[in-house]
Symmetry: C2
Subunit: 177 residues, 2 copies
C-alpha cells in the first residue's frame, strides 16, 4: 500500500481522466503522484590518456569498478551534477567538457549521462562511496570487473573515439538481459 | 506538511546520516524521499525543410507555440518518449534520429532533451493538448510566441545548423531570468 505525500491518505493505482497510464491517485486530496525516470550523471575523467575509475564501496555492485556518477539533484544543471559527483566519489577536481554518452536503462527507470572531463591535478583519493580510485590505460582497464554496462559501453566508446581521432556523442539504450 | 508515501506518517526535512543535502525523511519507517529533476523529451519534426510546431491547449503557456515534448515515463527509453510525445501532441508519425539538444533548466528541476526527427507523412492533427499543429519555414516561425526558451534555443540551433550544412549536438543551460 502507498500513501499520499500531500495528505497522508492511501492512494490507489488507476488511470486519471485524460491520461493514458495508471498513476498513484489520491481520492482524498486529488493529488496525482507521477513516477518518472531519474538521471544518473557522471564524467569520463582523463589525465594524459588514462581514465580515472573508482571501485564501489556501496551496493549495488560493491567492489566493482565504475566511472564517477550519481543521481542528479534538484537545483543543479547536468554539468554541475557531473562535477559534484566526480568530486564526491574521487576527490578529483575536473574541467567538465562536452556530453559524451547518454544511455537509457528503462528496466531500472534511469538515463545515464557521461561528460568528457579533464583532471586538473592528481589530487584524487577515495570518497566514502569508493574503496579505491585509480588511473587506467586502455590495456589496464579491469573489463571483467566493470560495475554497469553503461560504464563499459562509455569506456569502449571513449577508447574507440580516441583511436579514430574524434570524440563524438553516443546515444542509445541498454536493455534488460 | 508532507507525508511518507510508504507508511503515511508525517515526514521532516533534514540531512540523513552520510548525506550532504536535506531530504524528506520518515522517522516512523526510515524511508528517505528523494526529489530529482525530471526529463522532458521531444522532437524537432521536419518535413521538407519545414518544422512542425504545436500551439498549447494547456497551461503553462496556453496559446503559445512549442515543439512536441513531455515528461519521460518509467519503462521507456528517451527515444521512445520522444516518439510517444510527438504522436500524442501532433498525431504525427516520425522517424526519430539523433539527439539534437539537451538543456538543463535548474530553476524548475528539469532537463529538456530534443531529438531530430523526420515526418513520415502529413497526417498530423491537433491532440488534446494542442489548439493547432502546423509546419513552419524559418521565416514563418512565430518567434515572439514561443512557449519556452529551450524550444526557442533548439529552433535557432536547428536553423543555424541547417545553414552550416552539419547538424550537431547542443548542450547547455537555461538560467532563471
Amino acid at each position: 500500500m502507498k500513501f499520499c505525500s500531500n495528505c497522508g491518505a492511501p492512494v490507489a493505482r488507476r488511470v486519471p481522466p485524460g491520461d493514458s497510464l495508471p498513476r498513484f491517485v489520491c481520492d482524498q486530496c486529488g493529488d496525482i503522484h507521477y513516477q518518472n525516470p531519474k538521471l544518473v550523471v557522471g564524467t569520463v575523467p582523463e589525465w594524459d590518456g588514462r581514465l580515472l575509475l573508482c571501485r564501489r564501496a556501496i551496493e549495488p555492485r560493491y567492489g566493482y569498478w565504475t566511472l564517477p556518477a550519481g543521481f542528479m539533484e534538484n537545483d543543479e544543471t547536468a554539468a554541475q551534477a557531473a562535477l559534484r559527483e566526480t568530486l564526491e566519489e574521487t576527490g578529483a577536481r575536473v574541467e567538465v567538457a562536452a556530453p559524451f554518452s547518454m544511455l537509457s536503462v528503462p528496466h531500472v527507470n534511469q538515463v545515464h549521462l557521461f561528460y568528457r572531463a579533464r583532471l586538473l591535478d592528481l589530487e584524487f583519493r577515495s570518497g566514502v562511496e569508493s574503496l579505491e580510485v585509480a588511473l587506467f590505460e586502455e590495456g589496464q582497464v579491469p573489463w571483467r570487473e566493470i560495475a554497469f554496462r553503461t560504464v563499459g559501453l562509455t569506456l569502449r566508446h571513449w577508447f574507440a573515439d580516441r583511436k579514430s581521432g574524434a570524440f563524438g556523442f553516443h546515444a542509445g539504450d541498454v536493455a534488460a538481459r
